[in-house]
């Protein structure tokens, strides 16, 4: 198929065909990534700019590695976001980067919708590396890739996503993407972090993790931002962990050799216990590797032009 999209902003409005095309491309990219000499000339002369308004080690590094493997030049701009009213606006920053002839801009920003905002004003392609609490499409794509790699076609499989769903762009992107692939998604969390209005995502919701686990092929734990406790969204880490933490015992309730995913970084002992995190069912390191492959695929599809790595 011919790739049409200019930008990767989210999975809500992405077609199943596009998702499959990305996953297929990522398979090839992973083979390249696993070679001892992993460097291609494909994107020689292309410039990729990472613009990160939020601290992120793994996502930014993953994008940088992906671009470098493909031969592109990368620049990273980390912008401390102490106050939105100070300093240059995102609009002006974006225009400046465009004027420097960037081919692809990768944006991580604390405001929902910032990636679309950028894409609407820029000629270069844009990849959303996480916009506020809205979407994190590359994370969901790498999660889906990892699930498929282990489980085969995902149609009819059961995926449980547990944690702070309300504030999670990872949960939103996964809910959209997985639904499109025919997965039965169940979101789990306390009512304060999984309020009724989340039903708009169109997937099952429950506050009872134990009740949701039987039959789950995948259990994904979300990172709990510890400062949410101060806002009164949950009373204590102890109670949160008791109700929603993934432990070996609890994982047995699935009745299957389920796989465990986590977008990282983990709060060990809170949303996931050490033995689960380090156990055989956890594919957390595979997620990281696959993340590079997915990002290679996206960068290639967006700015690879007529080159044909994926013959």
């Amino acid at each position: 198929m011919k790739w049409q999209r200019k930008d990767i902003l989210g999975l809500e409005d992405m077609s199943v065909e596009d998702i499959r095309h990305i996953l297929h491309t990522a398979k090839v990219m992973k083979e390249i990534l696993m070679r001892p000499i992993k460097k291609l000339p494909t994107l020689k002369g292309k410039s990729v700019v990472n613009v990160f308004y939020e601290a992120s080690t793994r996502t930014r590094t993953s994008f940088e590695m992906a671009a470098k493997v493909l031969g592109a030049d990368t620049t990273s701009i980390a912008i401390a976001q102490s106050s939105v009213s100070k300093g240059e606006s995102l609009y002006d920053t974006a225009k400046t980067i465009q004027a420097m002839r960037a081919d692809l801009v990768i944006l991580r920003h604390p405001s929902s919708g910032s990636a679309k905002f950028l894409a609407d004003i820029l000629d270069p392609n844009v990849i959303n590396a996480g916009d506020g609490q809205h979407e994190h499409p590359t994370q969901a794509l790498l999660d889906i890739f990892t699930m498929e790699e282990k489980l085969g076609p995902l149609d009819g499989k059961n995926v449980v996503i547990v944690g702070d769903v309300l504030h999670s762009r990872v949960a939103r992107s996964n809910a959209w993407g997985l639904q499109k692939l025919g997965v039965n998604v169940t979101l789990v969390g306390p009512p304060t972090l999984l309020p009724i209005e989340m039903e708009g995502l169109g997937v099952k919701m429950t506050h009872d993790l134990n009740g949701a686990l039987p039959g789950a092929d995948v259990v994904m734990a979300l990172r709990l931002q510890l400062e949410r406790q101060k806002s009164g969204l949950f009373p204590s880490l102890r109670e949160y962990s008791q109700l929603y933490g993934l432990t070996t015992d609890r994982l047995k309730k699935t009745g299957k050799e389920s796989i465990v995913l986590h977008p990282g970084p983990m709060n060990r002992g809170v949303e996931i216990s050490d033995d689960v995190a380090d156990g055989v069912q956890a594919l957390i390191e595979k997620q990281v590797t696959n993340g590079v492959a997915i990002r290679m695929a996206l960068i290639y599809l967006l700015i690879g032009g007529s080159s044909n790595v994926v013959a």
Binding site: G113, G132, Q133, H134, E197, G200
Partner: protein, 436 residues
């Protein structure tokens, strides 16, 4: 002298909605009657030249009175000033506007009240009346010198933009304002419930990952203020009502005889949260756009009189401020130039509400409740008057807007039905959409 021939006159103050001829002389309405002959008119002109306007197919009504505008002067003249705002007003059919007090500095002293009034007079378009704050510095703690500010020209008191969080301060304000006979206008928003919210809390906010403002952020304060008005017997006006629960509370309070009126903004009658896209900062407004059900409740409330008035909440902002990611853009819609057209096209034409009710709610009632000139075309009344052409259509473009602001959801869209002539005290200030 002006002679408007064969025009449909809507004047709810005299229960009139019928084709008539209108004569305006010496800044006042001289006469409204069934068709006149040229001889009769020339006799009444007493030698004065007669400007004749063919009013066939058009409406004439008392100039609209907007009790809720943000003119941004003093202090934020990059967004708007009193001159540009009052020009925008007459372009949109408003002959009287009330300027909210949340400027920089806030209007909390007689000197500042006089300044706003003077700037309005200097501008010389719509009548501009200052609203003073309720509390000094809008800090929500100490009351302003209400009696003194009334002498300076304040026509109401409001900390609009902020809610008065302390219920005792609100109670005292309702008590003390009795000295002046003026209204306390409440911006009902519980700060803690609203939090850092960006839009109405609901399926749309959850889907887009934008922090939500629950409907209760408004209605709990509406309930509180109604109780306080009932207990004190104070005069209360509720700004920009946006939820079903608020409408129900007001309806019940009115049935008990509470001295309360309420306003609704056109955008809450036209848009709802599900229409909001993640980069649509021109629909970012406070209170936020509600649900479809809220919109229906508001229309019903306006129809049955639970909601007394329409008001724009004209909130101009610069393009730079609105050209930001949603959470970083300021709240507000600039609407003086589009509000009447938008209401005509979206509510009157589809038959949701009558034009007679619109004029009552946007002219007659505000004049009576706030004690202002205007709101009537009875003989002898000042000729604050609008000629409205339901067939006139216009693309809303930056080049034609006279407000400094362009933060309107109608930008680059076509609206139909516009004021084509506007008089302030008999003086023509707008003709064919051009401010004179």
């Amino acid at each position: 002298m002006w002679w408007l021939k064969d025009v449909w006159v809507i004047d709810p103050s005299q229960k009139l909605s019928a084709p008539r001829d209108v004569l305006v002389k010496g800044g006042q309405v001289l006469e409204i009657s069934s068709s006149m002959t040229e001889e009769e008119v020339s006799v009444k002109a007493q030698g004065e030249a007669v400007d004749t306007v063919d009013g066939k197919g058009k409406f004439v009504f008392p100039g609209l009175i907007d009790v809720h505008t943000h003119l941004r002067e003093p202090g934020q003249e990059d967004k708007e000033d009193i001159l540009s705002g009052s020009r925008a007003a007459v372009r949109g059919g408003f002959t009287t506007i009330l300027a909210m007090a949340n400027t920089q500095p806030v209007i909390d002293s007689r000197a500042l009240v006089e300044y706003v009034r003077m700037q309005g007079d200097r501008a010389g378009f719509a009548h501009v009346h200052p609203i003073g704050t309720v509390t000094k510095g809008m800090q929500g703690t100490e009351l302003v010198e209400m009696a003194t500010m009334k002498e300076g020209g304040a026509v109401a008191f409001s900390d609009d933009g902020k809610n008065i969080q302390n219920a005792e301060v609100m109670r005292l304000a309702l008590e003390y304002a009795k000295l002046t006979g003026l209204l306390i206008i409440s911006h009902c928003e519980d700060k803690d419930l609203a939090g850092e919210g960006q839009m109405r809390r609901g399926v749309s906010s959850a889907r887009m990952g934008l922090k939500g403002i629950p409907a209760s952020a408004e209605s709990v304060i509406v309930a509180r203020d109604l109780m306080l008005a009932e207990e004190t017997g104070g005069r209360l006006h509720l700004a920009h009502i946006s939820t079903t629960e608020s409408v129900d509370l007001i309806r019940q309070a009115k049935a008990r005889g509470v001295n309360v009126t309420a306003e609704v903004n056109p955008h809450h009658l036209i848009f709802c949260d599900e229409q909001l896209g993640i980069t649509d900062t021109f629909l970012k407004v406070n209170p936020p756009l509600g649900s479809r059900a809220d919109r229906e409740s508001l229309i019903e409330g306006l129809r049955d009189g639970t909601i007394d008035m329409l008001a724009t909440d004209h909130a101009p902002h610069t393009q730079a401020e609105k050209s930001r990611p949603f959470a970083e853009a300021p709240f507000g819609i600039a609407s003086l130039e589009t509000a009447l057209s938008a209401v005509w096209e979206n509510l009157v034409v589809p038959g949701r509400i009558s034009m007679d009710r619109v004029i009552e709610a946007w002219s007659v009632t505000p004049a009576l409740r706030f004690g202002l000139q205007g709101g009537s075309l009875v003989a002898g009344a000042p000729a604050d008057m609008v000629l409205f052409d339901p067939d006139f259509s216009e693309v809303i473009e930056p080049a034609t807007l006279v407000s400094k602001a362009r933060n309107t959801p109608f930008l680059n869209k076509t609206l139909q039905g516009f004021p084509v002539m506007v008089w302030v005290e008999g003086r023509l200030v707008q003709r064919n959409r051009i401010v004179l």
